[in-house]
Amino acid sequence: MMKRKLALFLSAAMIAAALSGCGGGSSETTAAATESQTEAAAGETTAAVADTEGSDRYLVWRLYQEPKQWDPTNNSESVSDAIVKQLFEGLTVSTADGFKPGIAESWDVSEDGKTYTFHLRQDAKWSDGDPVTAKDFEYSWRRICDPSFASEALQTMTDYVQGAQEYFDGTGSYDDIKATAIDDYTFEVVLKNVTPFFPQLVANDVYLPVKQDVVEAAGEGWEKKPETCVSNGPFMLEEYQVGSHMLFKKNPNYYDADAVSIPGIKAVIITDDNTAYQAYQAGEIDVMDHLPSEQIPQIVAEDPNVIVSADTGAQFLNFNVDKAPFDNVHVRKAVTYAIDRKQLVEQVLKDGSVPASGFIAPTCETTEGGSFRTMEDDGYPAEEYGINPRQANVEAAQQELAEAGYPGGEGFPSVELTYANSDKNKKTCEAIQQMLEENLGITVTLRAEESNVFTSTKNNGNYQMATGGWTNSPYDASGLIKLFYSQNGNNTPQWRWKEYIGAPHDTTLNPGNQAFDEAFDKAMASQGTARDDAWREAEAALMADMPVAPLYYPSFTALVNQDQVENVELTTSNSFMFKQAVIIQ
C-alpha cells in the first residue's frame, strides 16, 4: 500500500516540478511550446495522409544539418543553398546540363564584357500572386550591400558589381550600386571586371530575389514562417519545425507549375550519417548525400542507386610557409613528391575521387569550354609540376630533402599534421603519415581538432602542416585559385608577399607570392584565351613555390532511391533540384 502511494506521489511530484520548471522562465515559453507541439501534430497528419495515397506522397529528402537560414540574400552554407534553390528562382538556373535561362529569358553583354542586360519573363509570379519584376532583383542585390543588414554573402556583390563596395564603405550612394531595374522587366548590371561566367554565377543562391514588402514587414527570420516566406520558385514553405523537418509544397503561382508533378518535399534533418543511411535502406528516405564515410567504398561498389560525380574543387595539404621547417621550399617539394596520390584515392578513400597533379580542378573550364588539365585514358590527369598522380616520386622527393640539408631525413625535426576531426580526415592523414615515413624517413605526428577550432588554427597560422579543401560552384578557375591571393583571408599557408589587413599576425613575407598576385590581377583584367593563360601562369607561380601540395579532386556521392523516385535532377554544381521529380511509389 505504502509503496504504491509513495511511487504515485513521487512521480506526480516530479512531473509537476518538471512542468513548472519549463514554464518557470516566462509564461511565453509555455505558450510557445504548446503551439509548436500543435504544429508538429499538424505535420504528422499531413505526412500520414500523403503516405496512404501512395504516389501522391511528399518526396523525402535528408538534410545533413540544420540550416542557419535560407534567406537568399544572407546565405553562406551549402545546406541552405540547396533549400533556397527549391524555393526561389534566379535570373538563370543551374541544371544537369549546365545553366539555363530562369526568370531572365535572355541577356545581352556589352562589348567590353562588363555590362549585362537581363530581359525578364513577364509571367513569373511570387507565391502570393504578385509579379516578379526587375525591381525585386534590384532590391535583393542592393540589400546585400547594406552595412546594417550585415550579410554574410557581401562578397558576392562587392567582388563583382560596381558601386557595391563603395556603398558598403559609406563612400558611395545606394543608387550608385550598378544593379539597376531599367524598367519592370529589364535588369542591368555593370561589373568591376570582365566576368565571362557571370550568367552562370547568378544561378547561385545569393543572387536569387526576395520580396521587399514581406521581408521588411517581417524582419529577420521572415523565411522561417510559412506566412511570410513568399518565394518565386517551384516550391513554397509549408511548415518548419526547428531541428526536425521542413515541408515544402508545390507553389501554384510558379510560372512553370505544370512541370512540377510532386505535391511537395519533406526535408528531414538527420545529422547522423549512419542513421540516415539506415533510413534510406528502409525506404524511409528517397534522396540523401553526406553518406557515412566508412561505408562509402561499399556503397559505391554495390548500390545501383549511388551517384558519383566530380566536385569542382581540390583537397590539399597546407604548409605553413612562415614556420620551420616548411619555410624551406625544398622541404615543401619533398613532401609533395613523396605522397602516393593514387594509393590515397584507390586504397583509402575509394569514393571516386581523382588524384591531383596541379591545383586547378579538371572540371574548371577554359573560355572554349575545355579543361585546364590534360586527362589520360585512365581518367587521371597527366604528370605536371613534378607531381605524378599515379605514384610517389620518391627519388625526386629524397633529392629535394637532401638539398634542404636533411639527406635521408637525417636531422629533420618531427613535424605535426593537423586536421579537422572526422573519420575520413583521420584515415587520409594516417596514410600520408605512413608515406612520408617510408619515402622520406621523417616522423610526422597527427593532431585532430574540432572543426571550428581547426578553422581558427589555420587562419591564424598556428600549425606546421594542415589539411585543406575548397570547392566552388561556377566552373571557373578564379573561384579556386583566388585562395592564394595575398589579400585573401583563406590564404591558409600564410603565403603573402605583402601584408593583409585581415591577417595582422602574418608579418613574415614570402616574395614568391608576388608573381602569383601579378598573374591573378592580369587574369581579372583580361578576356578569352589571355585570361586562361594568366590562370595557368598563376598556377605555375603557385606550384613553383609549393605552399600547398595538391592531393586529389574530390567526388560528390549521393543516393537517390530509384525504386521510389524518378527524374531527381543533380545539377552540374552537385545540388539537387526536385522540380521535375516523380514519385513512383
Binding site: 500500500m1 505504502m2 509513495l6 511511487a7 513521487l10 512521480s11 516530479m14 512531473i15 516540478a17 518538471a18 513548472s20 520548471g21 519549463c22 518557470g24 522562465g25 516566462s26 511565453e28 515559453t29 510557445a32 511550446a33 509548436s36 507541439q37 504528422e44 540544420e66 542557419k68 537560414q69 544572407n74 553562406s76 552595412p147 550585415a150 554574410e152 557581401l154 562578397q155 558598403f168 529577420e220 527570420g221 522561417k224 519545425q241 526547428v242 531541428g243 526536425s244 528531414v268 538527420i270 545529422t271 549512419n274 542513421t275 540516415a276 539506415q278 533510413a279 535502406q281 528502409a282 524511409e284 572543426s451 571550428n452 577550432v453 578553422t455 581558427s456 587562419n459 583571408g489 585581415g502
Partner: protein
C-alpha cells in the same frame, strides 16, 4: 518550511549566477566564434556582423549585458538560427526530450526498484547473478552501441520501428529504452544493496517476530527504508534524462534539446549556449529541491535546517 524554501531559492539563484559566469568565461575561452567558417569572409564583413550582435564590445560589457538581459527574462536571439529567439528554440526542442525523459524515468523507477528487490531477496541465486551481469553490461556499454544496435535489429531487420524521428509513438521506444539503461542498471544495484542492508536490520527481525505478514514487512518496513538512497539519486537522474542525451538524440534523429545544446557549442552560438545552460541549471536546481523536500516527507528523522 517556507523559510527553508526561500533560503533554498536564494542559494539557487547564486548557483545559477555562478554557472552563468563560468559558462561565459569558458565559451569565450575556446577558440573560434559563431561567424568563422571554412570559407572565411572578408574581415570587414566579419567585423560588421560582430558589431551588429554587440560582439565587438569589451568582454566585461558583454557579460554585463547578459546578466542584465537574463534578469529581465530576455534570453537573446540565436546567431546560428537567424530570426529565432533562444526561447523559441528551447520550447521547440524541450518537449521531445521531456517526453523521452519522463518515460525513461518511469521505466527506471518501476523496473529498477522491482528488480533491485528481487535480486536482494534472491541474493546469490541464479536470478540475482543474471540481474547483476545485466546491470554491469548496462552501465558499461556506451549508449551509442545500444542505440545503433537497437536500430539495426528493430528497424533494419524487423522493421518494427522507424529508423529516425518521433513522428509516432513507435519512434519513442528506442530512445526511451536506451536513455533509461544506464540509470536503470545503477538503480537496480543501488536498490539491491540498500534492501540487503535493511533486511539485516534488527527492526526487520522484530517485525517478522511480531508475526507481521511478509508483504507488510516488505511494504512498510523494508521498502520505505531501502528506497531512501534511490530517492537521492532520482533528482539528478530525472534532470539528466529530461534534458536529453546528445548521443541518443543524434542516433535516433530526434529534434530534442540535447542535440541542440551540443550543436550550439560546436557552432559557438553564444546566446543559445548560455540560454540552454541556464535552462538546464534551473531544471537541476528544481529537481534537487523537490527531492530534498520529498526526503523530509519520507524520512521523519530529517528536519528542515
Amino acid at each position: 518550511m517556507i523559510r527553508y524554501i526561500i533560503k533554498r531559492v536564494i542559494s539557487a539563484i547564486i548557483t545559477i549566477w555562478f554557472i552563468m559566469t563560468l559558462t561565459f568565461i569558458l565559451m569565450k575561452a575556446i577558440p573560434g566564434d559563431p561567424f568563422s567558417s571554412e570559407k572565411m569572409a572578408d574581415p570587414v564583413i566579419i567585423e560588421n556582423i560582430k558589431a551588429k550582435y554587440g560582439l565587438d564590445k569589451p568582454l566585461i560589457e558583454q557579460y554585463g549585458k547578459y546578466l542584465y538581459d537574463y534578469a529581465h527574462g530576455d534570453f537573446g536571439i540565436s546567431y546560428m538560427k537567424k530570426g529565432l529567439t533562444t526561447n523559441d528554440i528551447i520550447s521547440s526542442g524541450f518537449p521531445y526530450s521531456l517526453r523521452i525523459g519522463i518515460w525513461a524515468s518511469v521505466l527506471v523507477l518501476v523496473l529498477g526498484i522491482f528488480f533491485g528487490i528481487i535480486a536482494a531477496l534472491r541474493q546469490n541465486k541464479i536470478i540475482d547473478r543474471v540481474l547483476m551481469i545485466l546491470a554491469t553490461l548496462g552501465a558499461t556499454i556506451p549508449s551509442f552501441v545500444f542505440a545503433t544496435g537497437f536500430l539495426f535489429v528493430f528497424s533494419k531487420i524487423l522493421g518494427w520501428v522507424p529508423s529516425f524521428g518521433v513522428d509516432n509513438w513507435k519512434g519513442y521506444i528506442g530512445p526511451v529504452i536506451v536513455s533509461a539503461l544506464f540509470s536503470l542498471a545503477y538503480v537496480v544495484r543501488l536498490m539491491r544493496t540498500s534492501t540487503l542492508d535493511v533486511l539485516n536490520q534488527d527492526y526487520i527481525r522484530t517485525a517478522r517476530a511480531k508475526g507481521l505478514p511478509e508483504w507488510k514487512v516488505m511494504g512498510k518496513h523494508v521498502m520505505r527504508n531501502a528506497i531512501l538512497p534511490v530517492v537521492t539519486y532520482i533528482g539528478p537522474m530525472f534532470a539528466a534524462l529530461i534534458t536529453g542525451s546528445f548521443v541518443v538524440e543524434k542516433v535516433f534523429g530526434i529534434p530534442g534539446i540535447g542535440n541542440l545544446f551540443t550543436n550550439s557549442i560546436l557552432n559557438r552560438d553564444y546566446t543559445l549556449i548560455m540560454g540552454i545552460t541556464v535552462f538546464f541549471a534551473v531544471i537541476l536546481v528544481i529537481c534537487i529541491l523537490v527531492v530534498d523536500i520529498l526526503y523530509v516527507l519520507i524520512d521523519p528523522r530529517i528536519k528542515y535546517q
